[in-house]
Symmetry: C2
């Protein structure tokens, strides 16, 4: 099964040309043996260290709470400011629907009266995303294998091919958007 059809996706191809990835992409097109996107969730991700947290809102008013985690290799690289990330680095991004917590709100209203505090907590999982650094196997996507899992199942090839295109603007930070939280 052909899995590495990166340059078959117009958006990725266009961006690849812009930033000079054409040569690498063309080279990899001839190899069909290895999936260039993750098909399995990296083991132990829930024990990874904290890189940062974040939040994403949409125009429809929905909101996601997010945690970005890293394995030891990734965390070490962050702390040392080492770029590019070394092979073996894994970054995990866990995304939850944000829920209001009326129970917390009641407690906080008593503890901090008049401050108008509202608390929001993680609800159901939206998806989990991963980046695994392997500069040889994933050369066509900046040395990173991308993965996107919903209910434990990997996204289809079309979805997976959008990952790298979206991460290209972070090229100066080795395609990783998230910064280490203080």
């Amino acid at each position: 099964m052909k899995r590495n059809g990166v340059i078959g996706l117009p958006a990725v191809a266009a961006i690849a040309v812009i930033i000079g990835f054409t040569a690498i992409a063309s080279e990899k097109t001839d190899e069909n043996s290895t999936p260039i996107f993750l098909t399995e969730i990296p083991s132990g991700y829930r024990d990874f260290g904290l890189i940062a947290v974040s939040r994403l809102t949409r125009g429809d008013g929905s909101s996601q709470l997010r945690a970005e985690l890293g394995n030891d290799i990734a965390i070490k690289a962050y702390r040392e400011g080492k770029l590019p990330f070394p092979d073996g680095a894994i970054v995990a991004a866990l995304h939850w629907n944000e829920l209001s917590s009326p129970d917390n709100d009641k407690v906080l209203a008593k503890g901090f009266p008049g401050v108008g505090i509202q608390s929001f907590v993680p609800g159901s999982s939206v998806n989990m995303q991963f980046m695994v650094k392997d500069s040889k196997n994933y050369a066509v996507t900046g040395g990173w294998g991308f993965g996107d899992f919903t209910n434990g199942k990997p996204g289809n090839e079309k979805l997976m091919q959008t990952c790298f295109a979206c991460h290209v603007p972070a090229k100066d930070h080795d395609f990783v958007f998230t910064r280490y939280a203080p």
Copy 2:
């Protein structure tokens, strides 16, 4: 220096009476040897595992992004649903001012046009809070030593005495509000 004046604080005393902590509080008042609140940040907290993330907003429109972390003992207890938490468990809560990320917004607008995505990331640290389980030394505050650090410095005694009072409503979950994120 007298540090365990818990029943000298009206709010705490009132709540202690309500939930039946009077006897313990009175007993501990006679011991002045050990601080009953944390005066040092637990070492290695930034390597703790992720319990959950959360967000807090105030009536003035400000927003905090938060991460709750646990040491191995705390994480194990969470996963096994073990209550009360065993001695040695540590829970850390890291609080940051939430910042808008126009850079991320631009990227997301290109990747997901028309969705109106806005991204928020951790800004400066607001404070860090800790709970350290030691059922003997901190019996007067539910077995937990509380700590609150701003710019690395512990809060004063008056602030620290508010911690337990605010956590009393979570008595059925061993005074810990945060639930493990899926």
